[in-house]
Homo-oligomer: 349 residues x 2
């Protein structure tokens, strides 16, 4: 089977398990209010997404042990955690859109609190509670998946560690505008903590350890970290140069949120003083015009910053695959992982 | 040994484990920002508190199995969860104080964001992230405590379920002002979900199940639920009639937060139309004067509502102890649990 077909098969299995979990969960809730919120978490989670994280978890397991339906059931924990993170992230960044639709707290506001006194605060409070509920579901699916006590323990311990590291990354991210210096190194560390851990390295290692026969965890981790940082840098490129209709958010939103991406840091570093000041002003503006946005993109290109990012993505990907080649696991699965690491830096959304 | 001494001994063990955990945790963090926040979570958790929850967890275990240091280590998970809940609760309720000191997000604001643009939002965002970190610590202590895989699994599964039910209670609480009718029954259910589960019933059953030899879980649950509801109703009495210096928050704060306690519901139900309207106005005011506050307390007393609450607390406590007497566990520990259930409705703070 071609890697693409194998991955599509895994994705279908994962979608099925996600639907089953949420069907059972929402079906078991008596209280109307609680059920409504659980249904919104379900819809938000099922809204789409590439399911890269649970796919990597299952592949991590299947590197060292035969495919196991119970591990697929357990793998959705890391996909539900995505809802936990994204709901909170959008509240903190005040992002109005996610995956081409209103972000969770905005949907809550529109549905329940539109025009109410303190409506915005109430919607954000319910958003945080809903994200916490999603977090509790992440743990529950592990215990209900049918994996052994030992596997569940390892899985849950990895999961908690992923949540801690990602939370630490969030801290750094929120504090970063208050740091005097925020350099490339700080940004790469942020990508390692806030993205690579819960997107690639964490799921992969969590799955591998759940096989109870894993080898070369270090190499797998290096692969995951490098591919994860590449994922984020490529994501930032998509966020600025992708197609509005495909990326699921406003093409200006990264800039309007003041996101200090590698594209921005390098463009500031390598352009004239006035262009550098223009970039900083755009990142502080919160609402750039079309002309400003186009000038910004032009500076990012002409300063060589875009090339720097895309070259780095390629280099990280190559280096990641070198580490992968050293892993003593199922060669078929290694081929698929290699395909996935290419996919995440070629995708359109 | 007298129950009081036994409980004091457990409390000392728990304080020791809490300190050790946070010492190891903060000591292991390299990044300055992350360490600062972890230290604030440590200080917040160590600031005081009755440690009723981990004490109940250990007693639940010791009902059926010999005292085990590893279970004490694991028990602090439920105390750390208190920080997770309180930090978020104070943000959602906009409470300025907790345990006689600034609440967590207010401390963050004063320390890092005072006068900054969007400082309040930033402090609240960091507060939510810090609460999430505390939540990840809750799970971690279970895995690091030295209990068996099976015990850790049971513990973690109970913990996730406690978090879900408490979150559902929070949802009901935030939505309740938007409900047409909010009656005594709704309030009792709220107390069961938002308080009893994570304060009494949950820790007790979690500990009992971690003994792997538990019996009469139903009776234990009834005991925990009844004692937990009594705890909350008594807490609301303390919140209105306690001593300002002892309860760790402004004596007016429950009223100013518009908390619809049993005291308020029953006073509205059993007083004249004008008094009832006065109470509702106070709960909506957000800032009652001393005179208004005293008139409010007077109505609660003269309407018989205070007596209703204190009688109900006694009745719930008696009924709880009847269920406890049916549990086939260590008689010494049963005596201590009975003492604890008396203590939580006689305490001063």
């Amino acid at each position: 089977m071609e890697p693409q077909e194998h991955v599509a098969g895994l994705k279908a299995e994962i979608e099925h398990e996600l639907s089953s979990f949420f069907e059972a969960k929402t079906g078991s809730i008596q209280d109307g209010t609680v059920r409504t919120i659980a249904e919104l978490v379900r819809d938000y989670t099922l809204r789409g997404g590439k399911r890269i994280r649970p796919i990597l978890l299952v592949l991590g397991h299947d590197l060292f042990e035969g495919h196991d339906e119970n591990v697929v059931k357990a793998s959705i924990s890391i996909e539900i955690s995505q809802s936990y993170f994204l709901i909170q992230d959008d509240i903190m960044d005040q992002s109005p859109m996610r995956r081409g639709m209103p972000s969770f707290h905005v949907e809550l506001y529109d549905k329940f609190f539109s025009g109410e006194k303190d409506g915005k605060r109430l919607a954000e409070s319910i958003g945080v509670i809903a994200s916490d509920l999603a977090e509790s579901y992440c743990h529950q699916v592990l215990f209900e998946s049918g994996i052994s006590d030992k596997q569940a323990n390892i899985g849950d311990s990895e999961l908690s560690s992923i949540f801690e590291v990602t939370g630490n990354g969030q801290l750094i991210d929120v504090f970063s505008p208050f740091q005097k210096e925020f350099k490339t190194n700080d940004l790469i560390r942020l990508h390692l903590w806030k993205t690579a851990r819960y997107t690639v390295q964490g799921p992969l290692v969590m799955g591998a350890r759940m096989s109870l026969r894993e080898k070369n965890l270090d190499q797998l981790s290096y692969f995951g970290n490098l591919a994860g940082v590449a994922f984020q840098i490529y994501d930032d490129v998509l966020g600025l140069f992708g197609e509005q209709g495909e990326i699921g958010k406003s093409i200006k939103s990264d800039v309007n949120e003041g996101k200090r991406t590698l594209l921005m840091l390098k463009a500031i570093e390598n352009s004239s003083e006035s262009d550098a000041r223009f970039i900083s002003d755009c990142l502080r503006s919160g609402n750039v015009s079309d002309d400003e946005f186009n000038r910004l993109k032009h500076i990012v290109e002409s300063s060589g910053s875009l090339d720097y990012s895309t070259n780095l993505v390629e280099k990280l990907n190559r280096r990641a695959k070198e580490y992968l080649s050293e892993v003593d696991g199922n060669p078929e699965i290694k081929k698929i992982l290699s395909w996935v690491s290419d996919f995440i830096i070629r995708r359109k959304n």
